[in-house]
Symmetry: C2
Subunit: 134 residues, 2 copies
DNA sequence: GTGTTTGCAAAGTGTTTGCAATTTA
DNA sequence: TAAATTGCAAACACTTTGCAAACAC
């Protein structure tokens, strides 16, 4: 899945039907640039294109669907709203408390030494490392 | 400030007036055991004591005040609700996605190697490291 | 056709706020 | 008695949901 893979193909590769709404969202999300976006902002960007309208509820549902399919990764910060990260590879984040901007940090730059002993029968889902700056 | 420091003294040491509501909240929060508690749960525990009632809004305000004073540290997870951690020393967390239970991880057990280059003029507020298990 | 997805509006969840009454120093 | 704090209810921000209509296969 490279930067110029048609959205249609990305969707079908993940078993998702290429609805008008998902194609519009996909065009913005998977344009080759990593982004951290909230439902509100994605909705605004879709509307700003002026092509067609997509309801906010559908944007929420679409983001959840994409995340479930492994196309996005969600990051929750203090602010209350969820950010969706188009970079699903192993990496960390820097969060600016003042601007509320979230940026990627390559996983190879930072190493976590020592894994905790997980509770019995539990498996690691993922590790979140966030550097909060202000 | 040891485990059996009167709550009254903890409050005054941080410039906080010892109101009935803060004393009640403090008795539960600062009993010597580290805890991760939400506003709802703290409110329920205060009410369960049957001594006196404290409004939920005041519990929210009190938790925010305590956090501002450095008595608590807040941790936000996917669930949407904020956890308040009575352990304000440097440490990390394990979060169980199934039970929604948050536990401490001693900072000495895990080391983060390599600090990111912070954006110009920005200072590090804190580092959050959460191991998500399920 | 059949099951999936959408849009709307309504409900839900967790949190904050305005303001009068109360309490603390 | 002046300033801080509380409680209530209402407002708030973000998200999910129920259900009929529209759509994809």
């Amino acid at each position: 899945m490279t930067a110029d893979t048609p959205i249609r193909d990305i969707l079908s590769a993940h078993g998702l039907r290429p609805t008008r709404q998902r194609l519009l969202a996909g065009e913005i999300l998977f344009d080759g640039c990593n982004k951290h976006i909230t439902a509100e902002v994605l909705h605004r960007e879709i509307m700003a294109r002026g092509k067609d309208s997509v309801s906010l509820a559908t944007v929420y549902n679409t983001l959840a669907t994409f995340t479930g399919a492994g196309l996005l990764r969600s990051v929750t910060l203090d602010s209350g709203s969820v950010y969706y990260d188009t970079n699903t590879t192993d990496h960390h984040h820097i969060y600016d408390l003042n601007t509320r901007e979230l940026s990627d940090l390559d996983a190879s730059d930072i190493q976590i030494k020592g894994m905790p002993v997980l509770p019995d029968g539990k498996t690691l889902d993922r590790v979140d490392l966030i550097f909060r700056v202000k």
